[in-house]
Symmetry: C2
Subunit: 388 residues, 2 copies
Amino acid sequence: MNNFIYDIPVRVYFGENQLCHLGEELSKYGKRVLLTYGGGSIKKSGLYDAVTKEIKNAGLELYELSGIAPNPRIDSVRDGARMCKEHNIDVLLAVGGGSTLDATKWMAAGACVEHDPWDFFSKWAPVEKALPVVTILTLAATGSEMDSGGVISNPETQDKIGRLADPLLPKASFLDPTLTYSVSPYQTACGAADMMSHIMEVYFNMEPDLYMLDCFMEGMMKTIIKYAPIAMQEPDNYEARANLMWTSSWAINGFVNGGKQQAWSCHPMEHELSAIYDITHGLGLAILTPRWMKYCLDETTVSKYVQFGVNVFGIDANLEPMDIAKQSIEKLSAFFFDTLGLDNTFTKVGIEEKNFPVMAKKACGDGVLPGFKPLAQQDIEKIFAMCR
Amino acid sequence: MNNFIYDIPVRVYFGENQLCHLGEELSKYGKRVLLTYGGGSIKKSGLYDAVTKEIKNAGLELYELSGIAPNPRIDSVRDGARMCKEHNIDVLLAVGGGSTLDATKWMAAGACVEHDPWDFFSKWAPVEKALPVVTILTLAATGSEMDSGGVISNPETQDKIGRLADPLLPKASFLDPTLTYSVSPYQTACGAADMMSHIMEVYFNMEPDLYMLDCFMEGMMKTIIKYAPIAMQEPDNYEARANLMWTSSWAINGFVNGGKQQAWSCHPMEHELSAIYDITHGLGLAILTPRWMKYCLDETTVSKYVQFGVNVFGIDANLEPMDIAKQSIEKLSAFFFDTLGLDNTFTKVGIEEKNFPVMAKKACGDGVLPGFKPLAQQDIEKIFAMCR
């Protein structure tokens, strides 16, 4: 077990009608607020009106940047950073899902430097500071509301790159489960797959472990398996939306890592898919994850699959380990593709075989993708081939 | 499910050899450090030397207050508050278990007021601020390293009162599992019972719930049941000590509450025992908890016992609910009294029947102790009688 430093000073307002705290929270950081959001859905839902009313009632100055797309682009980040500088913004308020939050965090960092924000990704320019960010979450999936990371796409270079940096951690996040009532069954399913993957990327690990954290991860996976189908069928089921929302934050806020140093596997592979094809991140992860599990299963890794199968899916612990492992992959596939109804092949979502080599090469950074099992380009190509 | 605000900005340095960060951490708050500790054990272990060396290397001024007793007394708090004022202390560094940490937090609050620190308890004087506190934990039990509370005894009035206040939250805590290698099997057992109780006080609850948090609580209880006996038999088992230590923090840092408003039951009862008899807190809780469970079990509460029995102790879910419930109490008793070897009756620890009425009366504050089941004085006397 490795040493670690735990430090997640995000203030979370959880529940309905917590927006009454928004003005006081933003006012901690200054007067001039840049409100960022995606399309028009927050106007239709009435959230835009509620938020701007709180901002005005608190006597704050409101600036706006809308149109942040899914798989957010570096151009949005550039626009936001420029607006922050032009208007001398004190605090950014991101209202939306992970894409809006991710883009806003990098605007906040971009506002504090002179160089092009893409340098944070292409040149790994240091992230020494960022303007304060507050978030209002409308989609439970990426965990951006409680972590220090953000993933940005550059269509020109066909890159999609994620990066963590302490200054990007939101100061506060508003998590109101009722704001996710309008999330479609399909997006709910994709969010569930994304959360499952966040946990599995850490859970599948052969390092000596913190049993306590494994239990917590198993609990979160059971939570997703229990509530995602309920939220799809009953969009306004508060208990389901609340459990999914709080799980989205804890799946990836760093707590479950407990000092593990191991890199992730499916996320780097998926980023290459959505960099080219602009598919929903969670969908790409759902297609990849069971194949990745199958590819990595052998006598040296089987014990982790057994733990997963028995503790998450309730498979009989008395069966042969390899049988339990295979059943666990089948159960996960059934969850993604039957229960959640997600497409189960690359072909169905339009990902073409001709791009396998270039995507695989980028995923492993021209070397080896470390992680649960180290994967070289030819390994990744084989996993892609299993997804056809 | 109630709304809640989650906000735990404690920085935790977890693992061995993290004291290299101590100087930088203390320096954030100023130059003048009050080091607080209990008896001489930290001198014997070498921890005192290691800590003072880091303080001196960082160029800080060191003041000391030792002799903080288990079930810490208001007199220690008064002494510490006075020293903070006299020496213009900038930051307090508590090195020890929950008693030292609790007392130090209240010194930090006492340093900021003119009145007697006991007024915080007798008159519920407001706690508007406190000096910053950093902790180095040497005993996994109370969770004081990551919460905003502290329990203080007043032998003159035979009161033992706990109180939470945001300004008491430590700025940083150093959790090094190797520092608990020297904790005796008996104290390890008492710590385990204390942690179990912290979780059960929240877990036993008939409110609609966050399933995710129930899973986490079940995972922590399983962690304690798995590792406490190992730590008793192999005091220097890092995995066991690490899992217990991180569980001690998360059992009571507020995360598992998830908006539940319900009051605790066994802790208020136990405080009255140790206010008079000065027994170890965890031991008192171990004796009380199974009897309290038995007393509260009926048709309206049985479902929670079933969940507990099946998910924590692996009792067959197909049995009759009431049988599962009774078995779960037996399993918990066997864990406390057989596995951990704790005394199982008041008689064995010297608690006399003559004091039952006065202790029961104080426990329910002359009214009713709210909680899982509301308990009036006569209910508490009956539970005490079951402990004889």
